[in-house]
Amino acid sequence: MMKKIIVCMLVAIMTAFMIMGYVSAASSPPAAGGMLPDIKLSMPRDSAEKSYLGLGFFGFGSFKIPEIKASLVIVEIFSMYCPYCQREAPNVNQLYDKIEQNPALKGKIKIIGIGAGNTSYEVGTFKKKYNVPFPLFADGDYVIHKTVGEVRTPYFIGVKINPDGSHQVIYSKLGGFEGVDQFLEMMIKLSGIQ
């Protein structure tokens, strides 16, 4: 009987570790070449933001990043409380402007930000402070942050969206841009949108 209990305990410990291994593997940062984890974002209330993301005027509830109407979505994981994100904010705004001012890129490349551990109020504070022109989403309880492997910030993820609705991560890296133009060129090259 004792032997059986010991065997059962060993099997249980091994099973638990296997499950824990799966959990930790699932929460590593998204790898280039792979797919995004299941991230649900709340539909923006602002109609201009809805329209920018191509989610339809009457959209409500939540949506997933590959549903955004674009060929490439650049996702920034940031925080209002992160000094590097604060320093990077003007560069990301500049990236947005360069995309919007280029007729060949406008509508094809979209940018969103996800505020890790930031409430809607905190995300709104960051948006107001830096005049962020693209949609920012709150992740107050770190749910999304956990699914993307608890990355440090700022962290950028490039997601290529194919016409059939499938997607692929083409870029996934910690840290700001070395240069706005270089970053944009790299995104265009990696996604093959031009």
């Binding site: 249980a12 499950i19 925080s79 000094p83 590097y84 320093r87």
Partner: protein, 204 residues
């Protein structure tokens, strides 16, 4: 067959038991500004002190040295500015490193409410100097309550049994009266909107 079922059930039960232990969170500070230099003490007892001050009562005065070298007293703001005191536990720890940089971008909100922010920890000046340098230029003074160790934290009743301060916020009006206090769970960052609401109430 019955024994086999029992064994499977036992394995499942034990597995569930093992998995029910909380996972230790990975060591990280959210901002890359600190690289890998943040020490993670793990999950701590949410609060570990007995508050000695009360909303509606006069805030105890203190004089502490700021990182800039200046000596700062609470009473110097009497009749001039509302004061927000932000005690944080320790330099180079996860949540603390991601708290003051947020306050650093909202000087306009403090100005709007005619308030100054005083950041206090029990660390010494050299430690606070290197740590706050990673945050960019802070617009508010950072004060060291290092020696006599944690004297001010002790006076307010926010010194924990291990010698660090609680993560606590106090809003003190121009008359020197405490109008808001939040001795927060040390493991979590207070929501910024709660502090803004407390500042808004000063006008009432």
């Amino acid at each position: 067959m019955k024994t086999y079922t029992k064994q499977v059930l036992l394995v499942l039960l034990m597995g569930t038991f093992i998995l029910s232990f909380p996972f230790v969170p990975t060591a990280y500070s959210l901002s890359d500004a600190y690289k890998n230099n943040i020490y993670n003490p793990g999950i701590l007892k949410p609060t570990d002190s007995t508050l000695k001050v009360k909303v509606g009562k006069t805030a105890p005065d203190f004089t502490l040295k700021a990182v800039s070298g200046e000596m700062i007293s609470l009473k110097q703001y009497r009749g001039k500015k509302n004061v927000v005191i932000s005690f944080i536990p320790a330099a180079w720890t996860p949540v603390c490193s991601d708290q003051w940089p947020g306050y650093n971008i909202v000087k306009d909100i403090f100005d709007e409410h005619d308030a100054i922010l005083l950041g206090i920890t029990v660390d010494n000046i050299p430690t606070l100097f290197s740590w706050t340098n990673q945050m960019g230029n802070l617009w508010f003074p950072v004060l060291s309550d290092f020696w006599p160790h944690g004297k001010v934290a002790q006076k307010y009743g926010v010194l924990r049994s291990d010698g660090v301060a609680e993560r606590a916020l106090f809003v003190i009006d121009k008359k020197g009266i405490i109008r808001y206090s939040d001795v927060h769970d040390i493991n979590k960052r207070p929501l910024f909107e709660d502090l803004v609401r407390a500042l808004e109430k000063l006008k009432q």
